[in-house]
């Protein structure tokens, strides 16, 4: 039963795109990922409009003072278990905005991040590789099964 649940979760990830003040490059790559060329619906991955339906948050960009609260709220609104995927170097580690006056914290200091996909922007193939690694990790993660 537990295995079935885990398989159902990893085989049907509905993603919610939470743009956290990005420069839009990562967003465009995410849109590329969802186009027929890469066809992630093969693996049951679909983009949903409401965060209540989401199994994974695709976060792009650096959280600033305004979006930091909002990304936290969005994470709280998502039904658990909910994964967080940080797409792009900004979401992974703030790169050149680390010292910026309007960026209070890293993304993973605000919400727990499950997988980091670096790149500026990461290619769709890189995002797919990241998600595959995440799925493999979930298969061995006993903490997640409950």
């Amino acid at each position: 039963m537990e295995n079935l649940k885990l398989k159902a979760l990893t085989k049907s990830i509905w993603v919610f795109h939470a743009a956290c003040s990005p420069c839009n490059n990562c967003d465009i790559e995410i849109l590329d990922l969802l186009t027929p060329r890469h066809d992630v619906e093969r693996f049951g991955i679909t983009l949903v409009g409401s965060v209540r339906h989401a199994d994974a948050l695709l976060v792009t960009g650096i959280p600033n003072y305004k979006t930091a609260e909002r990304i936290k709220k969005i994470y709280q609104q998502a039904p658990k278990p909910c994964l967080v995927i940080a797409v792009g170097s900004c979401a992974c580690g703030r790169v050149m905005f680390r010292e910026s006056y309007n960026s209070p914290a890293n993304l993973d200091e605000i919400i727990p991040v499950d997988v980091y996909i670096p790149g500026c922007p990461p290619k769709p193939e890189a995002i797919i590789a990241g998600i595959v690694k995440l799925i493999n990790k979930l298969g061995t993660d006993t903490n997640f099964k409950k």
């Binding site: 979760l9 049907s12 409009g49 409401s50 209540r52």
Partner: protein, 303 residues
Amino acid sequence: MKILFSYLIFPGFLFSALIGLMAAWIDRKITARIQWRQGPPWYQNFLDLIKLFAKEIIVPNQAKLTFLLAPFLGLLSLILASTILGKAIIFPLESFLGDLIVVIYLFTIPAIALIIGASSSGNPLASVGASREIKLLLGYELPFILSVLTVIIKSKGTIQLGEILIQQMNFGSHLFSLSGILAFLVAILCMQAKLGLVPFDIAEAEQEIMAGTLIEYSGLPLAIFKLTKAILLYTMPLFLIILFWAKDLSPLVLFIKYLLILGIIILIKNTNPRLKIDQALKFFWGPLSILAFIAIILALKGL
């Protein structure tokens, strides 16, 4: 015991859920092939449901009790409709007087459940979705009932599914007459709106109002709504087959007819953009209602 069996298992819940989920997969697969993609595997919809069952159920603070009851209301009434339809096909002589009216009423309840659930969730976007769903319901019910009326006139004024079936078995399908084909056309477009598919998925527009009526639902209630939609994808074409195209209802022929109607639905879905609510209302109350009236007049003339 027999009633419970037919409600829960054979023409009822389990059977229609299986067929409905497979039909929903055919829909996704053909859509994917039209867009030059691979598409999901056949068990994808089952996995989606299992996943949703396992997830957390979030109830918003302002939500009323009806928020959680509404999905079950829709599902239970729809199962009843599919049981009546399945029974009517298997034993046409055992149907009761007026079951056509009962089925028409039961088919509106899923939409009403969606409206109740959305408006008790306390979300502004859900209330936008609910108001659109109400308008759409008012829009498509008129031509739909008019086209059903055509069938009633053509089968000598009976409101019993079994007699409509027997009438068609003896004198040929209603579809192959002028009034029949007009009414069938109207009914197919109304069915598209009842199923909430493009071009009439206005209440659930994912890109503009973020899944609209379903926005606050998560976990189990969302799964129930998805299941209701899948079962509707099985029962609505079946209803149209009973009304219009019931000369030969052996299982294989029935299955092929069902697949044909499903194909029409999917093609309409994939070749049209979403309408605005005012356009949809104008479409239903204007051209479609006029077509349905013409069908009624032709049926009264005996064509």
